[in-house]
């Protein structure tokens, strides 16, 4: 038992393991970079970095095999290797303080990256000129919103995340007088008008716009300039039986409305929203080019920031390399369309944002120290004539 433990410790402390893991990480990063051409940046991160194994789907089947260690596994082993090596192999001397610093900084950097992966949220905020919003929208995920519009003064919204639609989870919510059963879900689809008198299966939809439309599933796209357009058939079931099956998809821009008893509802699938304790109004957008050229010089959005508690009410200019930071969020200029007068801000929330700064400073100091000592030793050695090689 003791031997086994020592063996394990030796294994985890070995420099050979370090080198092998580093080679693995290079291969992982390299392949992931190449695969971005096919999958796009988000899917690549999920497949290669935020996973324990990289799976290879067997073409033409639903099987997939783990073929390579993923980011979590390589990172985890590197982490263990770093920690064990620090305690098992190092006898502390002042000459080694540089190495100790560099490696502890590295531990912190790995932790920081893990936390960023777990905690970081990305949203987009699309504002037309003059528009005010107090929420941002996901660039990739959707939600099914069921809005109680009975009271003209306010809306009461129940939003079902896309993941629940995909899992075909049945939803029952205390605010709703009906439950929702998802009969079918396509991660990406296209819509067509149903031609009359044509053959083919009748629509699963029985109410709303659905019966007049055909939703055809498409393979999901991972390209950065395209978005998946999911579609789902949702059956609403009241205490006395079905209220109808609706086709819901973000391609339907108009909400579908219906009433249950005295209450009015509208149903819409929209980009998943994240509400913020403040609102932004787009006052002015600008896209400047250098004179006599098409080269963009600047994109900027002038916005008014108003916090819900009324403490903040100011104008901010967001432009390239100059984002707005408010309430733990960073808003940066992402896209702009001058003709259609809208501006898209990317909204990022990363609670562990400070960790990379700290860890990188520690590593840099450590490396500088370590290499500085080596250099000093080298110079000292060359100054001693006896040791100098015949030059």
């Amino acid at each position: 038992m003791r031997d086994l433990l020592t063996g394990l410790l030796r294994f985890f402390a070995s420099l050979q393991l370090t080198v092998v893991l580093l080679v693995f990480s290079i291969m992982l990063v390299f392949v992931a970079t190449l695969d971005q051409v096919n999958l796009g940046i988000w899917a690549v991160q999920e497949k290669y970095f935020r996973s324990f194994f990289v799976y290879w789907p067997v073409p033409g089947s639903t099987l997939s095999f783990p073929v390579f260690p993923g980011g979590y596994l390589v990172g985890g082993f590197l982490f263990a290797n770093l920690i064990v090596a620090q305690f098992y192999r190092f006898t502390f001397t002042w000459r080694k303080i540089g190495l100790v610093l560099a490696h502890s900084g590295l531990v912190l950097l790995l932790v920081g990256e893990l936390l960023a992966g777990l905690w970081q949220e990305d949203f987009q905020l699309r504002l037309d000129q003059g528009e005010t919003k107090n929420f941002s929208e996901s660039s990739r995920l959707y939600e099914l919103a069921i809005i109680d519009t009975t009271d003209p003064k306010w809306d009461d919204v129940v939003a079902i995340p896309e993941a629940m639609l995909a899992a075909k989870t049945a939803v029952q919510h205390p605010k709703l007088p009906f439950r929702i059963a998802i009969k079918d879900y396509y991660p990406n689809a296209t819509l067509e008008m149903r031609r009359e008198n044509t053959e083919g299966a009748p629509s699963p939809a029985t109410a709303g716009f659905g019966p007049r439309l055909v939703a055809t599933p498409l393979p999901p796209t991972y390209r950065e300039d395209e978005r998946n357009m999911p579609a789902a058939f949702a059956e609403l079931i009241g205490p006395d039986g079905t209220l109808g099956t609706y086709l819901v998809t973000p391609m339907l821009v108009m909400p579908q409305t219906f009433s249950v008893g005295a209450r009015n509802f509208s149903l819409i699938m929209r980009p998943a929203r994240a509400y913020k304790p403040f609102s932004l109004t787009l006052l002015e957008l600008r896209h400047d080019v250098y004179p006599g050229s098409e080269i963009p010089k600047n994109f900027s959005s002038r916005v008014r920031l108003q916090s819900a508690d009324g403490k903040d009410n100011r104008e901010v200019l967001i432009y390239m390399n100059n984002p707005l930071r408010a309430g733990g969020y960073t808003f940066y200029q992402y896209q702009m369309n001058e003709q259609s007068r809208f501006s898209v801000l990317q909204v990022v929330r990363n609670p562990s944002w400070l960790l990379p700064y700290i860890s990188c400073t520690i590593i840099s100091i450590g490396l500088l120290f370590q290499f500085g000592i080596s250099l000093a030793a080298f110079i000292a050695q060359r100054r001693t004539p006896a040791n100098a090689p015949a030059a």
Binding site: G40, I295, P296, P356, A390
Partner: protein
């Protein structure tokens, strides 16, 4: 002789450099030097006509030299003036490069019809231009990455001809016998024409003849405004936006509002007319008056133009490339004969070349008001510069010519790469919005580029070790040990700089986009370099590799660095992919294969190494 040889080499080198720095003189009666310094605005930057001429030639034909059909050698500015004012002559110059055989077939041209088998004149191409236009439209509808080499060649040629056409409409319409006379007539007719237009508006009788004539002028000017490539007319003195320079055509169109033709339009029409009729006296007078007047309004601009034309004509990077080759050769020969004299001479030549590149980079920085690295071109310059700094240090410490061999080689190669990257056009282009931050360009980009340079240098030292060891008996154990220590030291240096550079990139990302790391291809490329250097260090510390293994790992570092420097740009995805290049892909592949081949050669048993045969370690 041997003793004085290094001093002779140094003196000759300095004399040669001094000769390139001497101001250019006019070889004809025309003050072409003065005219080449006239600033105009193109692609967002105010630059001398000389730069416009040179970069246009590089784009069109990959070189700056022009020879007319009757065998006269033209300077770039003469060529540009001919294009703008005597296009019937310029159309006969073979300055348009076509290499794709199918594109040549499109014009019914054969390789033999071209100068140097690849350069053709506009007149040779003209008869089948409509066919090119058709093909270009077909190719344009295909997505960039999916285009075939033919489609790419067609589009490239189409764009080049577009540039050529736009240059023709820059100062005067090519079909005008005397634009100055034309403008004067326009000016005289203008008041009556305005009256006519007002009358017409008010549905009253009006002078139809004058109205139509001026209408024709308007259309002509509008065409020039749409197509003129240069913006030579400076912003009006009272214009709040002093960057608001205009095309000749645009300025003429504004005459309808102001009532009188901008005198600067007259200047350029006069200048073009004097060149057209080859009247040196008028030409020089107009140029002198115009420059004097500009110098009062834009003293800074004129100074920059002056420096830029001098910089162009001195060609510091071309001269430095020659010196690097000489340094490399002398240093290699020093291993065979006259070790001390040749080694010293090589070191001096490398120092001169280094001083030239430094001066060139500083001049570019001053002209652009930017840190040294702003685009792929300048990164090539700087990678070489940083590597040569290290080589100078190595040579200063070890005095065994290895530093000079490496410095000469890396210096020349990076300048060669830079030369090819310059064929895309002006290398001092304006910075796209995302990159427009001097602080981060100065910190992140510079540090990471130094890291590239150091990683390459380590790889190059590895190559020297392998080549000398396998193919020559010259790698004695002292030299081998010295290279080993050099590589180790340089890898430490490279690790530090590429790490700090990558981190600074992350911080830029956090400052600009709110996220430290986004797995963007360029970021991944930088990360891979850092990790590769870390692998080399750990493999050595762990005793996994000895000298030979270290050299192989360092050589592989060349592949890693090239991939993140160029390969990533070829992917065409991500926030960072600003320089997409195509043909370079095959060069990259060839380079990678060559490095792999050398690593394989290093894998030969030591008994087969000529340096080690008979004395296995």
């Amino acid at each position: 002789m041997k003793k004085y040889f290094p001093y002779i080499v140094l003196t000759l080198g300095l004399v040669f450099v001094a000769a390139t720095l001497a101001p250019t003189r006019n070889k004809t009666d025309f003050d072409l030097v003065g005219v080449s310094q006239i600033p105009v605005l193109v692609n967002g930057r105010i630059k001398p006509l000389d730069t416009v001429a040179r970069t246009s030639l590089l784009v069109l034909q990959g070189r700056q030299r022009v020879v007319s059909p009757d065998g006269r050698r033209l300077t770039p500015i003469e060529w540009l003036l001919d294009v703008m004012a005597r296009s019937e002559l310029a159309d006969t110059y073979q300055t348009i490069e076509i290499v794709h055989p199918d594109v040549l077939a499109l014009f019914n041209l054969k390789v033999e019809d071209g100068a140097g088998q690849k350069r053709f004149s506009y007149n040779q191409i003209k008869p089948r231009l409509d066919e090119l236009e058709k093909q270009a439209r077909l190719a344009d509808s295909v997505e960039g990455p999916r285009r075939s080499t033919f489609q790419k060649a067609v589009l490239q040629l189409y764009q080049n001809l577009h540039l050529y056409g736009r240059l023709k409409y820059s100062l005067v319409p090519p079909d005008s016998p005397s634009f100055l006379v034309e403008i004067k007539r326009f000016q005289e007719m203008l008041p009556a024409a305005i009256e006519a237009a007002k009358a017409r508006e008010a549905k009253k009788p009006y002078d139809e003849k004058i109205f139509t004539q001026v209408r024709e002028f308007e259309q002509r000017f509008d065409f020039m405004a749409q197509n003129g490539y240069l913006l030579p007319i400076p912003a009006a003195a009272d214009d709040p936006n002093q960057a608001n320079w205009k095309q000749v055509g645009r300025s003429l169109l504004e005459t309808f509002g102001t009532g009188s033709v901008n005198p600067n339009v007259m200047v350029f029409a006069g200048l073009a007319g004097a060149w057209q009729k080859q009247m040196p006296k008028e030409f020089n007078e107009i140029a002198a008056i115009y420059r004097e007047q500009l110098a009062m309004r834009f003293p800074g601009q004129i100074r920059r133009s002056l420096v830029e034309t001098r910089f162009n004509s001195a060609e510091p990077f071309y001269v430095a490339a020659e010196f690097y080759v000489a340094a490399f050769l002398l240093a290699v020969f020093s291993w065979l004969k006259w070790p001390d004299a040749l080694r010293r001479s090589a070191f001096w030549l490398m120092t001169i070349a280094f001083a030239l590149t430094t001066a060139g980079i500083l001049a570019r920085m001053w002209l652009e008001a930017r840190p040294p690295v702003t685009n792929l071109y300048s990164s090539a310059l700087f990678v070489g510069w940083a590597a040569v700094v290290l080589c100078l240090v190595l040579e200063g410490v070890y005095k065994n010519a290895i530093g000079s061999v490496a410095g000469g080689f890396v210096g020349f190669c990076t300048l060669l790469i830079a030369h090819h990257l310059a064929l895309g056009g002006d290398t001092m282009e304006m910075m796209r919005a995302v990159l427009d931050s001097n602080f981060w360009l100065a910190t992140h980009v510079v540090t990471i580029t130094v890291g590239y340079g150091a990683t390459y240098l380590a790889g190059l030292l590895g190559l020297i070790y392998i080549i000398r060891g396998v193919f020559t008996p010259s790698l004695d154990s002292a030299t081998a040990g010295a290279i080993d220590r050099m590589v180790y030291g340089i890898v430490c240096f490279a690790t530090f700089f590429s790490f700090v550079g990558t981190v600074l990139g992350g911080i830029w990302g956090d400052q600009a986009w709110g996220r430290f790391w986004g797995w963007d291809p360029k970021e991944n490329g930088a990360l891979i370099i850092v990790v590769w250097n870390a692998i080399i260090l750990h493999a050595r510390w762990g005793g996994l590799v000895k000298q030979r293994g270290l050299m192989c790992l360092a050589v592989f570092g060349n592949i890693v660095t090239s991939w993140s420097w160029f390969g990533v740009n070829m992917l065409g995805v991500g926030l960072h992919s600003y320089g997409f290049m195509d043909q370079a892909f095959w060069w990259l592949l060839g380079f990678i294969l060559s490095q792999l081949a050398l690593i394989a050669i290093a894998g030969l048993p030591l008994a087969k190494w000529r340096s080690f045969a008979g004395r296995v370690e």
